[in-house]
């Protein structure tokens, strides 16, 4: 009898706790799906808005390609310090760069340009193939990882921006860039390995026009 009473008291205490602090809320599956849809971060929509409003209005902030290339030639460490941007503790860094140059070579993946007066070897390589890096997301400094609840959303933004570039910027550039023509560009470069990524500087174009 004493034991039953003991268990009864425990059950009442547990019931009161769970009533006061409920474990869960029951919702219909439709209601849950609707709530999830509004809560889910839509990277494509975000990237579209970011592209049209913030990114296009910040292009003039890009450093001149000639200035950057001179800096890299003279002292890559100083160029990184003065013009580069690093995300968190990453060893990679990015540049936001604008300029114009003459096409010296072009294929399905890249358009190579000379930017400096008298240069004969390609100094810049505009990326016109599939994009996998986060140069545009990180290079402009407009997006901060700590503003997003998780890294998956932040990575999704980069993918969505790359898709916009692949659809809108790269096709006309790939088509019109022929050897000898002048290309005006604004873009971002991500440097992971200084030996390979600085010479030529691999730039993901955000805006490009061929003259």
């Amino acid at each position: 009898m004493k034991r039953v009473l003991g268990w009864f008291i425990v059950a009442v205490v547990v019931a009161v706790i769970f009533w006061r602090f409920p474990l869960f809320r029951v919702v219909s599956l439709q209601e849950a799906a609707a709530a999830k849809a509004t809560k889910t971060f839509n990277a494509t929509e975000f990237a579209e808005g970011f592209w049209n409003t913030r990114l296009m209005q910040s292009l003039e902030r890009a450093v001149s390609a000639e200035k950057l290339l001179t800096g890299i030639r003279n002292n890559p460490a100083d160029a990184k310090k003065n013009f580069g941007r690093t995300l968190g503790v990453s060893e990679s860094y990015t540049f936001f760069v604008a300029g114009h140059g003459r096409v010296v070579a072009a294929n399905e993946d890249e358009v190579q340009l000379v930017v400096s007066e008298g240069a004969t070897e390609a100094e810049v390589s505009l990326q016109v193939g599939l994009l996998f890096n986060s140069a545009v997301r990180d290079g402009t400094g407009l997006l901060n990882v700590s503003d997003y609840p998780n890294s998956q959303d932040f990575n999704a933004i980069s993918e969505a921006l790359n898709r916009i570039i692949e659809e809108r910027v790269q096709p006309p550039l790939r088509e019109q860039a022929q050897v000898g023509r002048i290309v005006r560009f604004v873009g971002c470069a991500e440097v992971n390995h200084e030996e390979t990524d600085l010479k030529p500087l691999k730039i993901v174009p955000i805006q490009a026009s061929v003259e």
Partner: protein, 323 residues
Amino acid sequence: MKMPSREILLRFQSLLALVGMILFLSWHEPNFLTLANWQNILLQISVNLCLSIGMTLIILTGGIDLSVGAILGLSGAVAAGVLKNGLALPALGVQLQFTPFGAVIAGIVVGLVLGWFNGIAITRFRLPPFVATLGMLSIGRGLTMLWTNGFPITGLGATFGFIGAGFWLGVPTAIWISALLVVVFYVVAKHSVLGRYIYAVGGSERAASFSGVNTNRVKVWVYTLGGGLAAVGGLILTARLDAADPKAGLGYELDSIAAVVIGGTSLSGGRGSICGTVLGCLIIGVLNNGLVLLEVSPFWQQVIKGLVIIAAVALDKAGTKKE
């Protein structure tokens, strides 16, 4: 009666080792004895302490649990999953949207159930603890991968995060939780019927059985508690990282066994204490912290930790032989 110095050395080996390490590191590293560093050490050991308390009870009965790391990972993942995504019940056309409190309870229940399965496998099916819990390690890891699809579950919110990253009276919540568990299980081990039965089963299962102790029930209780405590460790870790990593807790069982052994609990059961385990966790925590402060390579850190464990077991054996 005066105790011989050799006996004092053997009896207080863990405490002496800890004091020796603290003195050396305080002299060598000015940053070691700061409040921030000690808070960091206690925070680092809080998860291992949860696992090690359960492991102490299990080893005291003469058993071992290799699945605590896997249970930790699954419990954290389940709590994070039900909190973030809810639990859909298509047959009823409803979804259960868990509160942070509900997610904590769900995680602990998962740990208790897996621990209970360990106990049942060991007592009913007469499997050696090593084999039963090794199987559970694999089951737990597989279930975690199935539950998470191999991806971390992130963004769990501030309320849940309070367990691992919050502060109360200026001290991290994780330290409060592990300290509370130490006190509760010290009382259980030293001053409760279950505690006496645990020592009795570990000392001599046959004698305990003849004395009327239901040894199987004691073992099931101990493994169930071990699972529950591993789940608490999983919740602290998940809350601290604000993410449930499918690989969380990998290798934690070894750290936990090491802390228990270094703390003086005999691997053959029947001898040891929760206080010793706290010392063992502190020794591992201080050792890890000290090696980092001394800028010792992570590879050497593993070697040194292994040597410390071997030395602790050797000293334990020497003590047992003497007795």
